[in-house]
Structure formats: C-alpha cells, structure tokens
C-alpha cells in the first residue's frame, strides 16, 4: 500500500558536503507585541560545525531560534534552509532537512518512550529511508541513554528523562540540520556532557548543529562558533576562544565575568567574578 500510494519517488535530500550552508539568516528583523525583538540578524550554520547561541535572558535567543525553525515569520530579512527560503518548503519537505528540539517537551497522551522516539521517523514514512527506522530509533535511544526506560509512558518520566527522550526523537529524525533549544537545561552534569558530545559527533558526521545554551562553559568547550546575542543583535560571533573575553561577557551579561584558559586543555573557562562570598 505504502509503496503504491507513497512518496518513494520523492527527491530526498543528499548528505551535504562539508562546510555547506544549511541555514542562513539575512538581516532578520522580528517584532513581537510591537517591540523589536531581533534587529538585523545575520547568521550562518554550516555543515560540520556546532554553532551555539548564547546571551542573557530576553536577548532574543528563543526568538532567533524560532525564526530559524520557521516558527516565526521574519518581519524583514529572510531565513534560508538548505539553500531555499524557509517559506518555500512545505512542512513535509522541511521535516526531511531539519529537526527541532523545543525548549519544553510536552505530550498530551501517555505514549510509551519508544513510540515517542519513533515519532521522529514520521517524515520518512513512505520514502526509501523508511528502512532505517529501527536502526535510527535504537541508535538515538542508545546515544541519549533512554533505552532503559523504553517501555515506560512518557508522562511517568522525570523532567531530565523527558528532555533526553525529546532529544532522542530529534536525533532519530536524522536530518542534516539540528536546531536544539536549551537541550541541557533540565539535565544533570553527566547528561549535559553526553548531549553535547552527541552534538559534536553529529557535526563530525557532517551535520550542522545550532544549539541555544545558557551555560557559557559548555558553549566554550563544545561549540566551533558562538553567537553572543545582546538586546536583539549579535554582539559578536566567532570561535569561543576568540570572542569570549572578560570585557565582552561582563558588558553583555551586566555581571563581572572572568575568562581564563583551562590549565590542562587550554579551552576557555568562563566564571562569574566572585570574591569570597561567605566572608561578605
């Protein structure tokens, strides 16, 4: 039935060459509720790299993320996914090219975990890559350490477990562009590292990963490039070792911050400048 009425003949996206531009924002302006939330954002996500979006609360990270995910229309400027304006793709075509992890994972009915992860395979139903379904689901669950509670209903999981299941669903979609909105927010130390390691692996395999992060230390350690947002603009963009400076971060976050190379690895470490807080 599926092969008969399905879309097996539909053009499937080719794996992108390294460095290919998979998402691009050009002069994006977004107004929400009469307030300019984003002004003149230019951003590129390339295959093979992890791009982190950081910035203080209200800087416009989530709005920019929404614009990249084509959830929010840009008032001015354009967002391109895989070389075409996001609005020109149908939802089904877009789903083969980019996967989105929302900030909060909700589910109206208590589906078991495996079925939630399997939902990530829905875009491929009826295509030649449908055959990867089982492998993709199993790999995604192994990578996020969710296989242990595969049979439990989603509603019975803790916040951190839900977040990992949601990530597994996004990984199972196997698109070459991954948009992750604060994937580490609800996670413990080990799983934060785990998730960003998975991001690095996906980048190494040729995907583009755009990730919104709150933890500057994680961004510094794992991202190839970071874009620091400040009041709706990109304050600075580049490799973390170059753009994370005491002066910049202190100004953007309005909090004294110090950045120093890790004594062993040399990667930048970001810490708020604190005195001996208990003495005061």
């Amino acid at each position: 039935m599926r092969t008969l009425f399905g879309i097996r003949g539909r053009a499937l996206p080719e794996p992108p060459p390294p460095g290919a531009v998979l998402a691009r924002a050009r002069g994006v302006h977004v107004r929400l509720g009469g307030r300019a939330v984003l002004t003149g954002i230019d951003l590129i996500a390339r295959s093979g790299e992890v791009l982190a979006l950081v910035g203080p609360n209200g800087a416009g990270k989530s709005t920019l993320f929404g614009a990249l995910a084509a959830d929010l229309p840009a008032d001015r400027g354009s967002v391109e996914i895989a070389g075409r304006p996001a609005g020109d793709w149908s939802a089904a075509e877009l789903a083969l090219r980019r996967a989105v992890l929302p900030q909060t994972a909700a589910l109206s009915f208590p589906f078991p975990v495996t079925e939630v992860v399997r939902m990530g395979r829905a875009p491929w139903a009826g295509t030649a890559r449908e055959d990867e379904d089982d492998t993709a689901v199993a790999e995604a669950m192994a990578a996020t350490e969710t296989a242990d509670f595969a049979g439990r209903p989603f509603s019975a999981l803790s916040g951190g477990e839900r977040a990992r299941v949601a990530l597994a669903r996004v990984l199972a979609q196997r698109t070459s562009l991954l948009l992750l909105d604060e994937p580490t927010a609800a996670l413990d130390l080990r799983h934060q590292e785990l998730v960003l390691t998975v991001c690095r692996e996906r980048a190494a395999a040729g995907d583009a990963v755009v990730v919104v992060l709150h933890d500057l230390g994680l961004a510094a350690a794992y991202a190839d490039r970071v874009a620091v947002l400040d009041a709706g603009r990109i304050a600075v963009e580049g490799p973390p070792a170059e753009v994370f400076t005491d002066e910049l971060l202190s100004r953007v976050y309005r909090q004294p911050v110090e950045v120093f190379p890790h004594p062993r690895s040399g990667a930048p470490v970001v810490l708020p400048r604190r005195g001996d807080v208990r003495k005061a």
Binding site: G19, R46, A92, L94, S108, E115, A122, R200, D224, P239
Partner: protein, 375 residues
C-alpha cells in the same frame, strides 16, 4: 573537521564514545506493546458486535429465537434458511434491524468523533456532548423541525444539524485555545457556555413551535432510537460512512499532534489542514448521530478512554477501535433501554448519561490529581 579557516577549540574528550559508535551493531528497537493486543481487541469487538446484533434483533416485546433470526437472514441472502411468518418477518426486518443498524451507526459516529476530538484538542476530556458540539448540532435539528424546513427532503435534519454542529465546533475550538494549547478548565467552561446558549436557542424554538412539533422535538431531544426506519438509516449512512472512512487516514498525524502543534509541524504535518479536515469530520459524525438520535453524551468520552487504558494512546488503533467500541456500547445500551422496563422504553440518552456522568466525574478528579490542581 570543519572548513573554517579560523582556529577551532580543541574538542574535549568524548564522554563515552562507545555509546553511539556506528560500528556497534544497533540493537533492535524494543517494541513496547505487542501488536497482537490491537488485533485481539479488534477481533473481540467485531465478534461482540455480531453477537449483540443477533441478540438485539431477536430479543424484545415480540421474541424471535436466535436460530430463526439466522435462518431468516440466510433466506434473505439466498443461502438457504427459511422465511419467518408474516409478523415475525416484518418485526425483524422493518422494526428491529433498522433500529439495531441505527444504534451501530450512531454509536460508531459518537465513539470515533470522541477519539478524534480528544486528539485534535490534545485533551482527554474533549467530547462532543460535554463541550457543546452535540447541543449545537441539536439547535440546527430543532430549528429545522420547528420551522418545518424540508428543502433536502429526508436529509434536512441531518444537513441542518451538520451546519450548526460545524459552526459550534469551530467556535469552541477558537474560544478554548490559547497559545496552541487547550487547558482543561477553559475547555469545560467553554462547554458550559456553549451548552447554555444552545439550550436557550432550543428553548426559543420550542416556544415558537406548535404542539405537534413540540412533541416531536421533546421525544427526539431525550435521545431515542425508537423511531428507527430504513429511510432514517439512509439519512445518516453517508455522513457516518464518509467520516469513518476518512478518519483513520489521519491517525498517524494525530499521534504527532500529541507532541504539540509546533513539534508536529516540525515533523512535517500540515497542522492547519489537519485541523480543518478533522473538525469537518467531527462535525459530520456528530451531526449524523444527533440528527437521528438526539443528544447522547458520554459515549465519545468513555469508549476512547477504556481503549486507551487497554491498548495505549496510539491513534491507529484508537480511531477505528473507538468506532467499533462506540457501536457496541450503544447497541447494548439500546437493547437495555427497550427491554429493562418493558413494555415502556427508557430514553437512550438518559441511560448513557446515567452511566457516563459518574465516569466523567471520576475522570475529572483523576486529571486534577495528576496535574496537582487546575493549571
């Protein structure tokens, strides 16, 4: 690793490389609930439906033994068997069977509409009766009786119920959603408002109707299948069949919609279109049921819930399963309605509400406890 010209920081050592090493033979994704539960349930429901049809056809004020029912059916199908006597034949084919078939159609419509509606609203408490869709459709039906409309002949009541039901479901949907979600409280309160308004409209129509029309309206309003005839069956058959055939095609997308509107769209679902189509189907199914049987509430709530408990929330079974389950429940309820107080007949709507409301109450309490109060 990248084609960037600038220096990239040293990637930190992987946490546990072995986790997703592609050389690992991927374990087979564990399947959670064996498919066989769904097949077993479907088989069981079909068998039960067949049985209740036979029993209903034979049992009643004029008893026809089961063997004779089968034999008469065989005769009509040209498979041997024998005709009954004239009275028996007439009771079976002109009184009992249209009624049983109507009960099955109405029940299937209500069960399926309930499952779809809960999926679209993403809320397990949505049901055509509770949130006022049935009442809305009833306004259309009452209006067509009170105003003596007959522009579509036999189909007039159905068409009017459909138009009014469609308007109501659109209204409720727009009013009860905010930020892509439907809160339980908003939904229920919207239902109360819509039910009250529909009640007032029905009251107005009754006020202006003459005595004969009032009798017809009152009788119909209580929810009864006692006036079943083959033409009535024909009046709802197209709606029900169309709705029941289209609904299962959207089961997979309803599963994805459980993630929320945006995630569903990210997974390739054209959410706007899905919503429009499903709202149309819900209106179609509800109108079909209301037009012939009045407001019969709680079937659409009870059946999908029980099935979800047994086989999980996957809509691929739930949607057609709820149609079968609804048909079964209503056929049983109708059999009870016309036999427990023989020779009098209980109104069907009263009977389903009698059992449905406590269940609804329990469900409300449970939902509230799970959420820790109303959000």
């Amino acid at each position: 690793m990248t084609t960037e010209t600038h220096a990239t920081p040293q990637p930190p050592p992987p946490v546990r490389k072995d986790l997703s090493d592609p050389s690992d033979p991927p374990a087979k994704a564990p399947s959670v609930r064996p498919r066989s539960t769904a097949y077993l349930l479907t088989g069981g429901l079909l068998a039960a439906l067949f049985l209740i049809t036979l029993v209903s056809a034979g049992y009643g004020a004029y008893d026809i033994p089961l063997g004779e029912v089968v034999s008469s059916a065989q005769h009509r199908l040209g498979l041997g068997g024998a005709r009954l006597d004239r009275v028996g034949e007439s009771v079976l084919w002109n009184v009992r069977l249209p009624r049983v078939v109507l009960a099955l159609l109405v029940g299937a419509s209500l069960g399926c509409a309930g499952a779809l509606m809960q999926g679209v609203f993403g809320n397990p408490l949505a049901e055509p009766g509770i949130i006022g869709i049935s009442a809305g459709a009833a306004v259309g039906a009452v209006a067509s009786i009170a105003l003596g409309l007959s522009f579509f002949g036999n189909w007039t009541i159905t068409v009017c119920a459909f138009a009014a039901g469609l308007g109501t479901v659109t209204l409720v949907y727009t009013l009860s959603r905010s930020g892509g979600r439907t809160e339980v409280v908003t939904l229920i309160l919207t239902g109360i408002a819509v039910n009250a308004f529909a009640g007032a409209l029905i009251g107005l129509f009754i006020f202006f109707a003459d005595n004969a029309q009032i009798t017809q309206i009152t009788f119909w309003q209580l929810g009864s299948l006692s006036q079943a005839t083959w033409p009535k069956v024909l009046a709802v058959l197209p709606c029900t069949v169309l709705g029941l055939l289209i609904a299962p095609c959207y089961a997979r997308k309803l599963d994805l919609l459980a993630l929320g509107e945006r995630p569903a769209r990210h997974l390739g679902v054209d959410v706007e279109r899905l919503r429009i189509v499903l709202i149309l189907i819900v209106a179609l199914l509800t109108a079909a049921a209301v037009a012939v049987a009045g407001v019969i509430s709680f079937v659409g709530l009870l059946v999908p819930h029980l099935l979800r408990m047994v086989n999980g929330p996957g809509h691929r079974f739930l949607v057609p399963g709820s149609a079968l389950g609804g048909a079964l429940v209503l056929a049983v309820a109708d059999l009870a309605a016309r036999t427990v107080a023989e020779p009098a007949e209980l109104p069907l709507g009263v009977l389903t509400a009698l059992f449905g409301s406590p269940f609804f109450f329990w469900l409300l309490r449970r939902t509230r406890r799970r959420q820790g109060g109303w959000a």
